[in-house]
C-alpha cells in the first residue's frame, strides 16, 4: 500500500471513530476532507462498511463450542464481509454421534481436518489436522497427544487434575486453556489461560497465561520459559496463523497440519524466517501468495503442492 493511501485510510478511520460519538458535529470538516481527493470517499466507504459489519459482534466474545467434522472451517475471501449467503452454517454435533465415547479412544485427523471433542466433565479438546490423540473412557481426566497439535480447554478440579501426556512429557493443568504441538521429537506448549505444570516431577516448569516452552526430547536442561502472544495461541482453529520470526519450515509444517497444504522450502530459503499473519484461504494459492510476499520468497507449483524459493 502506498504511503498516501495508508495515510488516507488512517484519516478515514479517524473520521469514523469521531463520528461514532453521537455529539459529533464537524460534518463540514468531513465534507472538506472528502472533497480534497475523489479517492477519499471510496476509502471511507470501505472502512465504514467494515465498521457496519461489526454490528454483528456478540456482546461477549467466547470461543464457539461446535464440533466440526470433516471439512475445517475456512474463511473465504469472496465471502468475506460480503457474501453471507454463500456461507454455510456449521452445526453442532454431539460427541456420542461421532462414536468417540465408545471404545474408540484413538482419534486421528487427516491433514487439514479439524475436530473438536467434548469430554464428559465439560472439558474440550480441539484437534488440528494430521494429529493423533488418545483418550481413555476409564480415565476421563487424561489425554495423550501422540503427534500433531491440539488446544485443550480444561475444567479444573483441585482434587483431580487433568493430565496431558506427549512424548515423554507430562503436562498438568491448574484450570486452563493451552495449546500443545508435538513435532518430531519436539514439544511446544503455549498457555492462553490459567496455569499448567510441565513435567512437574522432573523439570518443575510452571507456565502461566502468555508463557510457553519449546522442549526437545532428551534435553538435559528444563526448557526455557518464553513469552508468547496470547491472542495467537491456537490461531489454527480460526484459520489465522500468526508468526513472529518463525522458520519457514515450521510454517510449512503448520500449513500441512492445519490446511492439508504441501509446502516445501528450497534449501537456499530454509534459513528465512516469517513474520506476519496468514489467513488460510479456500483458494490456497492466495495463502501461498501471501506467505511468499511476506517472507520475500517466490512460490511455484510442485506436484500437488508448492515450493518456496528465494
Amino acid at each position: 500500500m502506498q504511503a498516501d493511501a495508508a495515510n488516507a485510510e488512517a484519516r478515514a478511520i479517524n473520521w469514523l471513530i469521531r463520528q461514532r460519538d453521537p455529539l459529533f458535529d464537524d460534518w463540514d470538516g468531513f465534507a472538506d476532507w472528502l472533497a480534497e481527493d475523489p479517492e477519499h470517499n471510496a476509502i471511507y466507504d470501505a472502512v465504514a462498511n467494515l465498521d457496519r459489519d461489526l454490528d454483528a459482534l456478540p456482546a461477549t466474545s467466547k470461543p464457539s463450542v461446535v464440533i466440526v467434522p470433516e471439512a475445517p472451517r475456512r474463511p473465504s475471501r469472496r465471502a468475506w464481509f460480503g457474501g453471507a449467503m454463500a456461507a454455510a452454517l456449521v452445526g453442532a454435533i454431539s460427541l456420542s454421534s461421532l462414536g468417540l465415547l465408545g471404545n474408540d479412544s484413538r482419534i486421528e485427523t487427516l491433514a487439514g481436518e479439524h475436530r473438536t471433542i467434548a469430554l464428559a466433565d465439560g472439558s474440550k479438546i480441539e484437534i488440528n489436522g494430521a494429529s493423533v490423540i488418545e483418550i481413555d473412557k476409564d480415565r476421563p481426566r487424561f489425554a495423550r497427544l501422540e503427534s500433531g497439535e491440539a488446544m485443550f480447554h480444561v475444567v479444573h478440579r483441585d482434587s483431580d487434575p487433568f493430565v496431558v501426556e506427549t512424548g515423554d512429557a507430562r503436562i498438568v493443568d491448574l484450570g486452563t486453556a493451552f495449546n500443545v504441538v508435538r513435532r518430531d521429537r519436539q514439544t511446544s506448549v503455549a498457555v492462553s489461560e490459567g496455569i499448567v505444570l510441565y513435567n512437574h516431577d522432573r523439570d518443575k516448569v510452571r507456565l502461566v497465561a502468555g508463557k510457553g516452552i519449546e522442549a526437545r526430547d532428551g534435553d538435559r536442561q528444563p526448557p526455557v520459559v518464553q513469552d508468547v502472544d496470547v491472542a495467537s495461541i491456537g490461531g489454527w482453529r480460526s484459520g489465522l496463523l500468526v508468526y513472529n520470526g518463525t522458520p519457514l519450515a515450521v510454517v510449512a509444517e503448520d500449513l500441512k497440519r492445519t490446511a492439508g497444504m504441501q509446502v516445501s522450502i528450497a534449501p537456499e530459503a530454509s534459513d528465512l524466517s516469517f513474520r506476519g499473519a496468514l489467513i488460510i484461504d479456500k483458494n490456497r494459492n492466495r495463502t501461498i501468495a501471501d506467505l511468499a510476499a511476506l517472507s520475500g520468497t517466490t512460490a511455484q507449483r510442485q506436484g500437488d503442492g508448492w515450493i518456496l524459493t528465494r
Partner: protein, 181 residues
C-alpha cells in the same frame, strides 16, 4: 443574559414541533446537504438523493431533536453507506448466484458478515493486544464513549484514541488481504 437566551431557545417553535423543524432545517441547509451528498459519492445524483433524504426524514416519527443539522448530516451519511452496501451486496450476489437471484431486493439490514468471518474478526481484534482489544470492545460493542473508557481503564484519552485507531487499522488490513485478488 445567558439565562435569557437559554430560555428563548427552549421556547423556539421549531424545537417543539419536530417534523416542521426538520423540514425547515432541510430547506435552510439545502445547499450544504447537497454538497455533502456530492462529495460523499452521490456526484450528479446529489439532488435526487436530497429528495430521498427528505422522504426519509419527514416520514419518520421522531421525538424532538435538540440539534437537527448534525442529525440530518448523519442521516445523509448513513444513506450513502446504505447505498454502497446495497450495491456491493447485489454485486456479490450476482457473482455468487448468477443473474437468476439478482431480482431479490438487497437489504441493508442483513448482516453482510458470516459467522466464520466474525470469528476471524474477533481473532484479529484479540491479536492487537489485551488493552487495545478491550478498549475496542468497550467502544464498538458496548457503545461506551472514549472519555468513560479512559477513566474506567485508567489511561489517557489519547491512549484510547490510539488503541482504537490501531484496531481499526488492523481490521482494514486483514480485510484488504481478503479482498485482494
Amino acid at each position: 443574559m445567558a439565562f435569557q437566551s437559554k430560555q428563548s431557545m427552549t421556547e423556539s417553535p421549531d424545537r417543539t414541533d419536530a417534523a416542521q423543524g426538520i423540514e425547515g432545517v432541510l430547506l435552510a441547509n439545502r445547499d450544504r446537504i447537497v454538497r455533502f451528498l456530492e462529495v460523499r459519492g452521490a456526484g450528479d445524483g446529489a439532488e435526487d438523493l436530497f429528495q430521498d433524504l427528505w422522504m426519509r426524514m419527514t416520514d419518520r416519527k421522531t421525538g424532538p431533536i435538540s440539534d437537527p443539522l448534525p442529525y440530518i448530516m448523519r442521516a445523509a451519511n448513513n444513506l450513502m453507506l446504505d447505498r454502497y452496501r446495497s450495491a456491493r451486496q447485489s454485486e456479490l450476489r450476482d457473482k455468487a448466484w448468477g443473474e437468476a437471484s439478482a431480482t431479490q431486493i438487497p437489504s441493508t439490514e442483513t448482516s453482510l458478515i458470516s459467522r466464520e468471518q466474525l470469528t476471524l474478526v474477533e481473532t484479529a481484534i484479540t491479536a492487537t493486544g489485551e488493552r487495545p482489544a478491550r478498549i475496542f470492545r468497550r467502544f464498538r460493542v458496548d457503545g461506551q464513549n472514549q472519555r468513560d473508557i479512559a477513566s474506567e481503564m485508567g489511561v489517557s484519552l489519547s491512549t484510547v484514541e490510539a488503541d482504537l485507531r490501531k484496531v481499526y487499522a488492523a481490521l482494514a488490513t486483514i480485510r484488504r488481504q481478503f479482498d485482494a485478488s
